[in-house]
Chain length 295, copies 4
C-alpha cells in the first residue's frame, strides 16, 4: 500500500458540509430585501404576486379560457404544468412540448408572465424559451443538477420547499441557483409532512416571517397543494397574505370536476375574482398590494 | 385453571378504542355552531375573543397593572398562570394559591373574566372559585382524570391541543369534558412539533378550518407558545384571525425582559393596543368582531 | 398603580425552564449505570427484563392463566392493566380495584413482580399496595402531579416516553420521580409519532444507545404498542434486544382474538416460549441475559 | 373562446395519481421474494449483503487500502462516492470521473462489486461502466428522470428512502426503475426526519418487516447516515440485522479523523472485522448468512 499514491490532494479547498452553513448570497444579512421584475411585473417589497392557473395544461381550450379568466380577474402571472412529477409511473405526466406551445400561446394572448415546472435538465432550453419563471417542485428541491442548470439559464426561479426540508436546506438549495449568477429566486412554502392525517400537508406559515429574517428573497405560499381540498384554499390564502407572504401560487380551473389531475383542490375560474378580492384585503393588512407593473 | 372463574363478564358494554371513533357531543354533524357566554362575554359565532395577560402571576403590581392595561386596550378576558407546568422539576412552578388570590383581585378590579390553568385534580375547587375558564395545558390534553373533573366542575374549559395530537384525539379529549354535562369548551391550537429547529413549534393553522368542519366548538389560537419569540407573535396572530379562528390567547407583560418565565415571547403592554387593532382588522376579513357582551 | 406592591419577590430562587437543562439525578455523568432489585429480580446491567402479560385484566381466569404461562416460560415480571387510558371516554377503562385484587392474587400465586399503570393520583395508595412497578403511560409522561406522587410512593416506576417527547423531556420527567428520593426508575421507548401511516408508531431504537450515554437508568422497549400488530412484535423485539435494551415489556394473551382491547397486537401465550428463546439470543449478542435473581 | 379547441383528448389513458396506488411490479403479492446476482454475489433470500467502504473516493491510496481491508474482512461489496450530493454548493462534491477511475481500479484489484452514486442523468453512461450497483440518494428518491434512466441502464439499483418518504412513495419510486425492465432493485432505509434533535435521523427499523410484507425486493439498512456518529453504528447495525434486513451499507475509512467528509460517522478499517463478526451473529438470528457466491 506504500507505493500507490502520487495523485495530488484531491480537495484542497474542500469545506465541511455543515447543515447550518451560511448561504452567502441568499442571506438577509448581506443586503436589503429584493424587489425584482419578472415579465414586466414587480415582485417582492410591497408587491403581492398572484400566480394563478390550472394544475396542468390539458388542452388549448382549457388553457386559453383559464388564461383569459386569470387576466380578467387581475392575476399577476399565469401558471400551468407541461411536465408533471407524479408519485406513480403510470399516472399522467403532462403534455410535454405540446404543453409548452400552448403556454406560449397563452402568454402571447394575455401578456401574463408564465410560470411552469422543469423536471429534466435536458429540457431546460425548451422550457426556458417559454417560461418567465421556472418552477422547481418540492421533490426536486435538492436535485442539485437541476438547480445549477436553472441558475445558468438566467430564467427567474420559483423554488418550492421540500416536504420535510428545513429552512436552512431551502436556503442552501436557493444558493445553488444564486451562485450561477441568477438573482431572481422566489421561495415557496407548500406544506410540510406531519403526523396529522386529516389533511394532506400542514401549511407552515411560521416559515414566512422567519424566512424574511433569514433572507432577502421574496417568499410566496402555495395553498392548493398544502390543503389538497378546495374548501381550505381560501382561508389558508387569507392567512398567508396576513402573515406577510409576498404572493400566492394557486390552482384555478374552468371545470375542476373534470380536471386531469388535482381536481378537488383547484378553485373554479368563476370563484376566482371574489377570492382575489379577499386575499387583497388580507395582503393590505400586511402592507402589500396585489400587482405592480415595472416602470 | 378450571375452577377459577366465577366473576361476571367484566365489560359487557366495552367498545373498541378506535382512534377515529365518533366524539358524539363534540361532533359538528349533530348541531349548529356553539356560541356561549363566559363571565358576561360572548364566545363563538362572530365574536372574536382576545384573551390576554402575562404568562405567570408574579406579583400584585405586575398582575394588576397588566389587568388594567388589558382592560383599557379592549381585551375580552384576562389570562395568568398560578400553577405552571415546567419541563424541569427545578424551575419556578407558580405562586399557587397566592396567585389565585391575586387573580381574584384582578377580576374584581377590572371585571374581566379570568382564564387560568389547572394541573392537579386536587386543586379543582380552589381554581374553580376564581376561574371563569379553566385551561388544560397541551401536556395534559390526555390527562383523562383532569378532563373528567373539569367537566364535573361546570366551569368553562380551554383545552389546548397536545404537541403531536391529531384533531381526532383533541376532539375525543374534549368529549371527556362534554360528557360530564359541561358544554362550554374552547379548543386551542398552540403549535405542533415538527423537524424544523428554526422555531419552537410549528403553528398549524390548517387545523382551524378543518376543526370547524368537524366540531361545533369554538377554536382559538395561542401564537405565543407556538412562536416562542415576540417578533413572530403579531404575524401569526394576523394569520390566525384571517384563517377564521374564534379568538386568540396571547401573553402580554408590563416588562418582559424581567419576566419570571417566557419573557422572550411576551408582548409588551405598551404594544398591545396597536397589536389588537391590527388583529381586529384581520378578524373582520373572516367575518368576526372582537368582543361581544351578553345581553 | 403606584401603591399596589408590598409583596416580596415571589420567586427568588426561580430558574429558567431551559429545555436542555441538566436533569441532575438522571444524568449519566454523575454516576455508574444503575442496577437495582424489583420484587427479588435484578434489573439493569447485564440483566435483561422480560415483562409480559395481557394488556388488560379482564377476568380471574384470563389473568391467572396468563400469569401461569408467563412464569412457566421464564418471564421476569407480570404486566396487566387495571386502569386503562383510552382515547375515547366511551371505551372500556379497566376493572379498577377489582383488577388490582386479581393482580394481587396472580402475584401471590406465581411470585412474579407486578407491573401495572396508575392514572389518577387519588389511586396511588391502592395501586402501590399491589404494584412492584407503577407504570406511567406515554400520555401522562408530563403529568407532573402524577410523577411527583409516584416519586413519593417509593414504588419503582416505569416511565414511558411520550409520543413526541424528546429524550431531554423524558429525562426531565424522570427527574420529577427521582427528586422525591425514588431511585428505581425504568425508562421505556414505545414508538413515536411520524408521518408514516403503514404502522401505528415508529419504534425509535436509536433512542436506546443514546439514552445509555445520557443516563444511568435502565431503558426498556415496548414493541407491542409501537407496532400495533402481532406480526411485527417479534422482529422489533429482536432488534430491541440487539440494540442493547435492558428489557422488553410485551403484551401476551391466552386468546387475543377475544381480548377486550388491543387484541391484534398481543402475542399468544402458546407462542411466547419460542419468542422468549429468540429474544434471549439477541440479548446475548448485546451482552445481556434474561432474568437475574437478587442474592 | 368557442373556436379554440380541435386538439384530441390529450391523455386518454391518464390514471389518477392516488398515493396508495398499486406498484404493480414491486408488489409482494405478485411473486415470491427476489434473490438475484450482482457481480457474482447473491443478494436477497438468506444472503446478507455487507456493503462497506469509505463515504467518498479521496485518493488512490485511501481507496485501495480501503478496498483491500474490506475484502480481507469479508465484505460482499465495496462502496465509495465519486459524485457527492451536498447541502451547500460550496462543499466538496467528489472527484467525479477521476473517482470513477479509481473505483474501477479497486474493482479490478479486489474483485468486489462496486456500489456508487449517480446524481446527474448526463453521467449515467460513465457511471454504468464502473458500477455494479448504482445508488440513488435519499434526496433524489423522487427524481423521476434519474430513476427512469437508471432503469434503462440495466445496472442494478440501490434506492434510498427519502427523509420523509412513506413506504408507498418508496415503492412507487422503485416502480419507475422496474417498469423499464430493470428487475434488480435494492431498497434502503437510512433514517427519517423527526422532532428529535439528539441524533441526526431516526432509523426506522419497523419499515424493514413491513416492506417485506409489501414487496419482493430486498431491503437493506444504512446505519451510518442515520446515526451520524460512529458510536451508534454498531448497535444500529445489530438491530438492523436482527429485525430481518437483507444487508447493510456502512461507511468505513482508514483514517476517519482526516476524512474529507462524514468523518465522525465512519467506522475505522481496523474495527471492521470485529464489527462484521457481531453483525453476522445478529443476522443469523433472523435466518441469514453474510455473503453467498453465485454458482
Amino acid at each position: 500500500m506504500t507505493t500507490v499514491m502520487q495523485q495530488p490532494d484531491p480537495a484542497p479547498a474542500a469545506e465541511p458540509d455543515v447543515p447550518g452553513r451560511p448561504y452567502r448570497l441568499a442571506s438577509g444579512e448581506r443586503r436589503e430585501r429584493s424587489t425584482f421584475e419578472i415579465g414586466g411585473r414587480l415582485v417582492g417589497g410591497d408587491h403581492f404576486a398572484m400566480i394563478a392557473g390550472p394544475c396542468t395544461v390539458e388542452s388549448r381550450e382549457q388553457l386559453l379560457s383559464s388564461a383569459d379568466a386569470m387576466l380578467a380577474a387581475g392575476a399577476t402571472m399565469f401558471r400551468g404544468g407541461a411536465y408533471k412529477p407524479r408519485t406513480s409511473p403510470y399516472a399522467f405526466h403532462g403534455l410535454g412540448e405540446d404543453g409548452l406551445r400552448l403556454l406560449a400561446e397563452a402568454k402571447e394572448r394575455t401578456g401574463l408572465p408564465i410560470v411552469t415546472e422543469l423536471m429534466d435538465v435536458r429540457d431546460v432550453e425548451a422550457v426556458a424559451e417559454v417560461a418567465d419563471v421556472i418552477q422547481i417542485g418540492a421533490r426536486n428541491m435538492q436535485n442539485y443538477t437541476l438547480l445549477t442548470e436553472i441558475g445558468r439559464s438566467g430564467v427567474p426561479a420559483l423554488l418550492k420547499r421540500g416536504l420535510s426540508a428545513t429552512l436552512d436546506e431551502l436556503l442552501n438549495a436557493s444558493e445553488y441557483i444564486l451562485k450561477e449568477g441568477n438573482e431572481k429566486v422566489l421561495l415557496c412554502e407548500r406544506g410540510i409532512r406531519t403526523f396529522e392525517t386529516a389533511y394532506r400537508f400542514t401549511l407552515d406559515l411560521t416559515a414566512i416571517p422567519v424566512l424574511k429574517e433569514l433572507t432577502h428573497l421574496p417568499v410566496i405560499v402555495d395553498p392548493s397543494h398544502a390543503a389538497g381540498r378546495r374548501a381550505l384554499v381560501e382561508p389558508l390564502s387569507l392567512a398567508a397574505a396576513a402573515v406577510g407572504a409576498d404572493g400566492i401560487i394557486v390552482e384555478v380551473h374552468p371545470d375542476p370536476d373534470n380536471a386531469v389531475c388535482d381536481g378537488p383542490q383547484q378553485l373554479r375560474n368563476d370563484d376566482f375574482p371574489d377570492y382575489l378580492r379577499k386575499v387583497e384585503q388580507a395582503a393590505r393588512i400586511a402592507g402589500k398590494l396585489v400587482g405592480g407593473v415595472a416602470a
